[in-house]
């Protein structure tokens, strides 16, 4: 199964890095969509089938927490797993992410292994096994 993934971050370099790490994790990825803030993300979500959303928190126009809340309030979007990928590290804010329905939280700076492990948990192991730790991609370059 090919997974369609939406990456939401106001940093174009960070979107590129996350996409590269996800691709290298061995998952059968379909289409990558990108958005620079929550508003753009909602527009993408309204017009496309998505299997996973990876979103930053701190973005202009609409932050990642507002995006998460809007998705969980929408019948068509609420089942899509949302992973917060952010520099936010306060206990209170991380608890809020989870309480509001985030499927997982990854703190920046992250290792490729952190992304891969989260995807394994949410999507299952890649069928070709390329994403497993024993394959040595802990050394994966960004």
């Amino acid at each position: 199964m090919a997974y369609n993934i939406l990456i939401v971050d106001d940093s174009a370099p960070m979107r590129a890095v996350i996409k590269k790490v996800v691709r290298a994790s061995g998952f059968d990825t379909g289409t990558f969509y990108e958005a620079a803030n929550g508003s753009e993300a909602l527009a993408v979500l309204n017009g496309n089938w998505l299997d996973l959303v990876l979103t930053d928190y701190n973005m202009p126009d609409m932050d990642g927490l507002t995006l998460l809340r809007k998705m969980k309030a929408d019948d068509c979007m609420q089942s899509i797993p949302v992973v917060m990928v952010t520099t936010e590290g306060s206990h209170e804010r991380v608890e809020t992410f989870i309480e509001q329905g985030a499927a997982a939280y990854i703190k920046k700076p992250f290792t490729p292994a952190a992304i891969r492990q989260t995807l394994n948990t949410l999507l299952g192991e890649p069928e070709d096994g390329q994403g497993r730790p024993e394959d040595g991609d802990d050394d994966l370059d960004f």
Binding site: T87, E88, H91, E92, F110, D141
Partner: protein
């Protein structure tokens, strides 16, 4: 803010971010009153924060280092790196440095971060001046150096 604790958090954050995301081991971390790196002609960014304390972070590095970091980060040849690529990467770097510094300083407190802004290094009030107090760290990497400062508004 407790300046010793903040300085420790800054050092740890610089090490974490450079080594984890940019594969750049640190050589020497020098304290503060040294001349900030790349005061002119480099790439710099600032990021405001608010909460129990408020102020801004400032990051400056020579263009050559920004180009190398960006090329490694994006996995492209250094000659293909544009100014937009470099400023985008430096803005993401200060975002991670600031977020990590504040959560390392006190994870039980919520700080709100602003949006990173590109700026010219010479426009940054590295010494604080009338604005408030500044904590400044210059980090020596294997081939270059960068400066991270926190400007605390009183």
């Amino acid at each position: 803010m407790d300046k010793d604790a903040l300085k420790t958090a800054m050092m740890t954050s610089i090490s974490d971010v450079l080594e984890t995301m940019f594969f750049m081991p640190l050589d020497v971390v020098t304290d503060g009153s040294d001349t900030p790196a790349a005061l002119t002609g480099g790439i710099a960014a600032t990021l405001t924060f608010s909460g129990p304390a408020h102020g801004s972070f400032a990051l400056s590095l020579p263009e050559s280092m920004a180009r190398d970091i960006c090329a490694d980060f994006l996995g492209i040849d250094g000659q293909r790196v544009s100014l937009k690529d470099m400023t985008g990467t430096v803005k993401e770097m200060i975002n991670m440095l600031a977020g990590n510094t504040l959560s390392l300083y006190d994870a039980n407190v919520v700080f709100d971060l602003g949006v990173p802004e590109s700026t010219a290094p010479e426009t940054i009030a590295w010494e604080g001046g009338d604005i408030g107090e500044t904590l400044c760290l210059t980090v020596q990497t294997l081939s270059s150096h960068l400066t991270l400062a926190v400007l605390l508004n009183d």
